[in-house]
Each structure stands twice: as structure tokens, then as C-alpha cells.
Symmetry: C2
Subunit: 537 residues, 2 copies
């Protein structure tokens, strides 16, 4: 049972002042609101929840209705020296919106008026708080698509995408959010409104400076994004390669061929095997189910087996036959959409065959499509089963990709059971999406009770010790993984952002650039009120 | 005759100190060196030369041999508070490398060691001082191409391209330099070396912050750029449209079709007519020759006619039948390169026909190719003939493009004779490349003599008055043009950079962003030594 955060003195004065500024119903210091804003989907916050803690609540939550209200709040916060944490839909998985110094959670979901869709110009102007799926549906109704399909699409916003450099499942065709954004509107730490130009800029590119800044430089309030006609044709296929290396070679060739694959996901042998053993019903089966399928035991028993000795498990997997499944998809527009998608697909298939690939027909692709958003909603039960599960998406150039994959597996093998797929390929490289399943702690049902208000002191102390141990195991796994990533010279975040999860490794990526980041921070946010304690700022 | 700049006291001490720092032969305060570094290809500097002036010489020129020497010079300059103006090959046309507060011209041409070409990874690591044509030849020898062909390629450098957001003639296929750059190496105003990551960045994109900063934030010392296999096939064509509007429609359709045109240049009616009347020998005929062809008179007489009454001339041109010529080209790679280029070309031609285009065969395209670098070297004679000629490349979205074209023509019609082409098309819009030919002053042969050391005072005073009048006519033309650009919400520089020519209009493009630019300046260059007085910094 979670102890909800209690209202603070600061919280009460924030409610009073911000109510006067914004009107009634625009601010709250109610425990449930503070709790909801004290976490995102960072698995570590689930561990906190398990341990009955909300260690970093904000003092208040504010819901501005328009840009002018955002400016008013920022000016107020700058004057008072109160932290402001921009918050979209809370789907981040790195703790980027978790307050670390209290302050105001600036929930932007009300900046979600009807987007201005201009299909002729192929642009949409959208508010930062607009929900991703809602935006896509509105675009579809107008005959368009953004082409942006993060697995969080049902619970993420335009502003969050931009703040954390989101990538959708079709990014190889449509690009990442930073490729789609034509201009942004943002309020900096002094309350000034920035509007960047929707074309090549004279001087440095201020749009690309704000994208990825995770709320530390400015509060994104809206953006103009590139849209496309809604595709009329789709072609999907599964191709099996004898090894991950062969599959990667095919991926690389495909990206260089001039073809424009929409879906391009290569599963490593374990991920591939799970898909096969689970009856081919879905690639993204819930992990306990997959383990059950793999080892032919009860779900919980299979999981316990996997968690007890992750090193052994990982080595066992290394010894398995190494088939890798590629999901390959193309889209086409207009009258010839079906034919175009098919023609590009057939050409891609030819390249895959040349690289040793074995055509599996369309079924694996269709299965992927049907289940593509499910994975993100199926991690929580694992925590209840006493495990932790987390994902890490990193990226590097083609020549370093397989080495990076092996290095991370090696680094993590003693901490967690590892599976991975390669996706979001781009011209020079590709992202690797690792999933770690590790021992999180004892079964939660008991430990939650032990942490509840009715627990005896000795029982509670033991449970707390276990919760801390679980957190430190989780942290050791991450540290090992990110060290390996940095050692290989790879990017430590491809599309989840940096947040609290990865920031201590940021200096290994940017070197002297960290000094520039700090200087930028001072420039955009002289009072240091915007999402303090993130990006090491 | 030009009065060469004389060595200053500061210059002498710079030579002494920098010689000690860098070794002999690395620094000079010789008048000829100062003069050469006091100008670039900004037409206004030609007017200065005509008027026998070098109003903004640096005090010294330094040629660092490596990055460590660049760092040493920057640290020295920061300590002494001396301005540093990064200088590549001096091909800029906006005065971006013209010193305005004296100081050290930092000539980077010695940072031009053998580039590291990695065709397998499709990257090249090049020093900032490497000449463009030299780089392309080295890449060609290795089987690659950068795909970057600015008309300045013979007299520009990698560092200059990045500093000013260069675009090459095939940018619709290969992108602008900011699309090709994977990472940069740069020395900031404190002497610290920045090395950005060659992949998607965690946090804000520092690469895109340095690109386009025109030497005001950091001295670019090298970059990793994307390369391509050298094309094996090429397909070129000319297509005539009945009006510019129809041609623009075709351009837009082509960019949206998914085809990847390499060359895509639409000439406005006057530019088209000149090409036709001059016997079709070249699109980029020297302008006096074109006027002669157009009006059937002697070159100089034709030019005088055009310059005496630009308004009348522009209106006359408006009344001419409005054919617009499109040069269209495709490239293909590998074994099927010839066939791929042809197939894409034929498909493009089909789209052009649908848009009302009339196929002119391959000759116009081949002529364009043969003459594509000539235009930039043919402006100087016009100045000698008593005219000024200048170019302005702006950009905007497709829906605003024709209005922008008409607005600039209207704004400039009283000042200069205007021709234009549309090129560097991208998904959302296109650049317009205007050429202005206006009355620069009396015939230069006489006025130069009048400004020489042997001239009588009255004669000299008259000549100086005339030179000043010419400069102010030139300035009035630019002001009118850029005002119109900003009124239409267009980008004021697509690929020439901002420099001294355009900076006063920068606040109209960036608004509140100017405050951010100033803050960035303070962050990267706390002593304000890097190219001071540019980007209004």
C-alpha cells in the first residue's frame, strides 16, 4: 500500500497563488494528484510503488489552459524560485518527468485544442498536450497520417515526443520526431515565447536545440509537424535468417538500397524463439508467458527459473540455434498504393534472399501489426511476480552494431535475462532495443503487505531491506549496461530520452559538450527552474 | 587602385606573439595578406575594391597547422581580447568572414590533411580547411561521392560549408550540408574542443547548433560527413512549362512523388528566355552577353539600356510570354545505375507532362551540366562595366513560394533588373535564387583612375561621391528585397549564410530567438572574440 504524498506548506501557497493566476480548477495539491505526478512509466518508479514509496512528489500540479497561462506560471515560478516540471501523459520510461526538488508539475494536457491540419501543405499544427492516438485519428479522418507510432501512442503527447526525441515503429520510413518537426513553439525559463521558423534557419537551428532538451531549456507548447497522405497499401512479411549477423547485414543492405521500408525489425534468437514457441500468436507475448512456452513449465515457475540464474539462462540461450526473424513492411500512397508497396516489398525480399533470408510469408508481419502496442502494457504483472523488467534503446553505426549487441549482453548476463531486437534503422546505423528481466525482489503480494500500515515493525524492516536490495540490483544492471554502451561509443538513448535513468552517463557521450549544455541551461533558464536535476542540469 | 591596409601596432605584436606560439611562417601582417583576408566574394566588397578601399582589414592572418594550434590561438585571443575571424577559402557572398573589429583572420586552409574515407561505412572524416573539389576528387578516387556541389566547389572548404549551411546543386537528392553532417569537431571561444556524437544525440543536438553559426560560437576544425557510392548512371532533361506557376506545381508534385531527383531547377521566364536567345549554349551565360542576345545590341549598350530603367525593363519582361524551363536530372548507383536513373526520369517526365510540361530532350540538361560552375566566376566583369550584380537565395514553403517570388520582384523592380530560378527543392518548400543587376556607378575604368594616387583632388572627390552613391543604391536594393522576404515570412538565407549582408533582418526571422542566440554566444564564447559583429552577436 502506498503512502500518498501529503500537502506541503509550499504546496498550499502554490495552490493559493496559482489559483489567483489561472482561475479555479487549474491547480491542486491533493495527495492523489501529487502521487500521480510523482512517477512516470520508469520501471524504477514501479519499484518505488512496490516499496510503498513516492520519494519525489511535486508540491502542486498545475493545468494551464493556453500558452499565456504557461508563460504566467513560468514567470511566477522564476520569481519564486520554484521548480517547474513539464508533464505530458507520463509515459516516459526514464523518469524524465519525476520531480527531484519538489515544485510544480506542469501538466500540459489541456494544450490540446483541435490541431490545424493542412493536407495540401502536408503540415499539422498541434498543441503540446495533444494525445498521440487522438492526433493520428484526427489526421486519418482528414486523409493524412503523421507516420509516428511509438508503442506509447495511446498514452503520450506531442510535447513529450519532442522533449524526449521519440521514435515510432515506422521510423525507417517516416523518420523520428526530430525529422518530422518543422518548427516549435516554446516558453523559456524567463517566460518568453519562442517561435522557430518553419524552414531552413538563418544561423543556428533553434528548433533542434529545443527538441530533446527534456524540459530543461524551455516548455514546448506546440509544434508544426510534417504529415503524409494516409497510405492506401501495405505489404508485410517475415523473413528468417540463420544468424543475427546475417540479418543485420540484410537490414543494412535494405537501408542502403534506396527502398523505403516502413517496418524493419530484426529479433535476436531468443526473441525469435519466444515468438515461435508461443505458437506464433504474437511476438510481443507477455514475458512470463513466453518463458512458460520456452521451458514448458508453469509461468511463475519458469520465471523463477530464469531469474534465479540469469547468467546460466543467457549462456543457454547463446548455445541455442541462432535464427533471427525479420519483420519487413512497406507502405504505398495514392491509387497505386497497393502495387507500390508490393513492388518495393518484392524487391526487398529479393535483397533478403541474397543475404540468406528465408521467406516466412505474411503471417509473422500481420501478427506483429496486430500486437504492436501490447508490449508496453504488459510489464507491470512481471513486477507483481517479483521480477523487474526494463528496456534500453541505444544506437550506433552499422559497423559497431553487432559488437555493441554482444558487449551489452556480456555486461548484463550476470544481472538479468536479456533479449533484444534491432529496429528504427537509419542510413548510418540502427537502434538496439534490449529487454532485461531480472530478479526484482520477493513476491510482491507479501512484501506489499509487509510494507502496509498494518505490518509489524520487524516484518516491515525486513521488507524495506528487501526493497532496497531490489533497487540496488536493478541499478547494478543498468550501470553495467550503460557502461558497455559508452565503452562502445554508442548513443546512450535513441528515443526514450535520458531522464533520471541515464543522466550520469551523459558526460561520456558529450565530453566537453556538457559545459555547453550547462551554458545553454543558464541562457534559456537563468533561474534554473525548468525540470532541475535532469540532463545533469 | 587599391590602397593596401598598413600593418598596425596590434598587428606587429600579434605577429610576434603568434610566431612564438605557432612557429615561423604561421602568421603575417603583410599588407597583401591583410588585404586578401579583408574581403570575400560579397559583391559589396567588390564595390569597396572598385572604390579603392579595404575598410575592414584584420590586423594579422594566422594559419594554424592542427587543432592544437587552433586551441592555442583561441586561448591567446581570449586572453588578449582580440577578435578571431575563421576563414576558409573566402568564397562567401555575404561578408561573413569580413573582420569588422580588426583582429586575427584565422585561415584554416592548413587543416586539410588526407581525409579518412570509409566507403563501407559511407563516411568521410575531413578537416575544416579541405577544399571542396579536392575532397570530391579524393572521394571519387575511392569510388564515392559527397553529393555536395555548391557552385563555389572549387574555392570553398568543408568548414565554410558547415558554418554557412551550404547547399549543393544536387541537394534535392543528397540534402544540404546540415543533412550530410554526422558529427563536428570544433573549438569554442574558451579553447575547449567539442566533439559531437555521430548518431542521434542524448539531449539537445549540439551538432546542429554549431552548423550555421558562422564562426560566432566555435571554430569548426573538422567533421564526419555521409558519403555515397559514386553514381554510375545519369539522366538529364529539359521540360518547358507555359508559366512559372505551372512549373512550380510540377516541382512540388515531383518532390512529393517519392522520386529522388538530383537536379531540379526551374528558371523564371527571363532566365529561360536568356538561355533560349543566347543560342541555347548555356543557361549561365554571362549576363551582359545574355542582355545582348536579348536586345540584339552591343553588350555594353544592352547593359546600359537595362540599367538605366530597371523598372521599365522588369515590366517589359513581365509582359513577355512566360515560359519556364525546368532542368531535371536523376542519378543511379551500382550495376543498374543507368537503368534506375532512366526509370525514375521517365516517371518524373510523366508527372511533368501531367502538369502541362513539354519535353525538350536531354540537350538543355547536358548544357546545364557542362556550365554549372561558370556563373560564379562571371560577375566581376559586370562591375567593371559599371553595374552591380548580386544574388539572394531565400526559401519558403510551397504555398507561399509564388507569392514570395512576386513580392521580391515588385520590391526590387525600381532598383535592379531581376531574374530568378527555383532550386534546392525539399519536401515542404523550395529556395528561390534571385539575381539582381543594378546600376553600380559610372564606368569603372575612369572612376578607378580617379581614385588612384595620381588623380586630382576635385576629380577624386567626385569619384568618391559616386562610389558612395553606388554603395547606397546597392544597399537600397537589398533592403527592399529582404523587407519583402521577411514580410512574406520566408527564411532570409537558404544556403549563403547571413553574414554582414543580411544580419540586420535576423530579428525578423527569429524574434525572441535572438535573445537565445545572444545567450548562446555568451555561453560558447564568453569573451566575445569569435567573429564578433556577425549574426548581430
Amino acid at each position: 500500500m502506498t503512502a500518498l504524498p501529503q500537502p506541503t506548506i509550499l504546496g498550499k501557497s502554490l495552490v493559493r497563488d496559482l489559483s489567483a493566476l489561472l482561475g479555479a480548477g487549474s491547480v491542486s495539491a491533493e495527495p492523489a494528484d501529487l502521487w500521480a505526478s510523482s512517477r512516470d512509466c520508469w520501471p524504477r518508479t514501479l519499484l518505488w510503488t512496490k516499496a510503498g514509496r513516492a520519494p519525489h512528489p511535486p508540491d502542486a500540479v498545475a493545468w494551464p489552459r493556453d500558452v499565456a497561462q504557461v508563460q504566467a506560471i513560468v514567470r511566477y515560478a522564476a520569481e519564486q524560485g520554484v521548480a517547474l516540471i513539464p508533464f505530458g501523459a507520463g509515459s516516459g520510461v526514464c523518469g524524465g518527468t519525476v520531480a527531484v526538488r519538489g515544485g510544480i508539475a506542469l501538466d500540459l494536457k489541456r494544450l490540446a485544442g483541435a490541431p490545424r491540419v493542412d493536407l495540401a501543405a502536408r503540415t499539422v499544427d498541434a498543441g503540446a498536450g495533444l494525445n498521440g492516438q487522438r492526433l493520428e485519428e484526427l489526421l486519418n479522418a482528414a486523409g493524412g497520417t503523421l507516420g509516428h507510432f511509438p508503442s506509447s501512442i495511446y498514452c503520450s503527447t506531442v510535447g513529450g515526443w519532442l522533449a524526449a526525441r521519440s521514435a515510432g515503429q515506422l521510423s525507417s520510413r517516416y523518420g523520428k520526431i526530430e525529422d518530422m518537426v518543422l518548427s516549435v513553439q516554446a516558453v523559456d525559463g524567463t517566460g518568453a515565447l519562442l517561435q522557430t521558423i518553419d524552414g531552413p534557419s538563418g544561423g543556428p537551428d533553434l528548433t533542434q536545440l529545443i527538441v530533446g532538451s527534456e524540459g530543461t531549456l524551455a516548455v514546448i507548447t506546440g509544434a508544426r509537424l510534417r504529415i503524409w497522405p494516409r497510405p492506401t497499401g501495405r505489404w508485410l512479411r517475415g523473413v528468417i535468417f540463420k544468424s543475427t549477423a546475417r540479418g543485420l547485414h540484410a537490414l543494412h543492405q535494405l537501408m542502403r538500397s534506396g527502398l523505403r521500408p516502413a517496418v524493419l525489425r530484426l529479433y535476436d534468437p531468443l526473441d525469435t524463439l519466444m515468438a515461435g514457441k508461443s505458437g506464433g500468436a504474437a511476438l510481443h507475448v507477455p514475458i512470463p508467458g513466453a518463458l512458460k512456452a520456452l521451458f514448458g513449465k508453469g509461468q511463475r515457475e519458469a520465471l523463477r527459473l530464469a531469474l534465479r540464474a540469469p547468467m546460466l539462462m543467457n549462456r543457454l540461450v547463446n548455445a541455442l540455434p541462432g535464427s533471427s526473424l525479420l519483420i519487413l513492411g512497406f507502405e504505398g500512397e495514392g491509387e497505386a498504393g497497393v502495387e507500390d508497396a508490393r513492388a518495393e516489398g518484392e524487391e526487398a525480399l529479393r535483397l533478403c534472399r541474397e543475404a540468406g533470408g528465408d521467406d516466412q510469408g505474411s503471417a509473422p508481419g500481420e501478427r506483429w501489426l496486430a500486437n504492436r502496442y501490447k508490449v508496453s502494457y504488459r510489464q507491470s504483472p512481471l513486477f507483481s511476480a517479483g521480477a523487474f523488467v526494463d528496456t534500453m534503446e541505444v544506437a550506433t553505426t552499422w559497423d559497431r552494431l553487432e559488437r555493441l549487441y554482444l558487449a551489452v549482453r556480456r555486461a548484463v548476463e550476470g544481472h538479468a535475462f536479456v533479449l533484444a531486437h534491432f529496429s528504427h534503422a537509419y542510413l548510418e546505423g540502427c537502434s538496439i532495443y534490449f529487454t532485461f528481466v531480472g530478479p526484482g525482489g520477493q513476491s510482491t503480494d507479501e512484501s506489499s503487505a509487509a510494507l502496509g500500515p498494518l505490518a509489524r515493525p520487524a516484518q516491515r524492516a525486513e521488507a524495506e531491506r528487501e526493497a532496497r536490495a531490489a533497487e540496488s540490483r536493478y541499478e547494478a544492471c543498468w550501470r553495467a549496461a550503460l557502461s558497455a554502451v559508452c565503452d562502445e561509443g554508442a548513443t546512450l538513448s535513441h528515443h526514450h530520452g535520458v531522464g533520471l535513468a541515464k543522466q550520469v552517463f551523459l558526460p561520456r557521450e558529450h565530453g566537453e559538450g556538457m559545459r555547453q549544455l550547462r551554458a545553454l541551461k543558464k541562457a534559456f533558464d537563468p533561474k534554473g527552474i525548468l525540470n532541475p536535476g535532469k540532463l545533469l542540469l
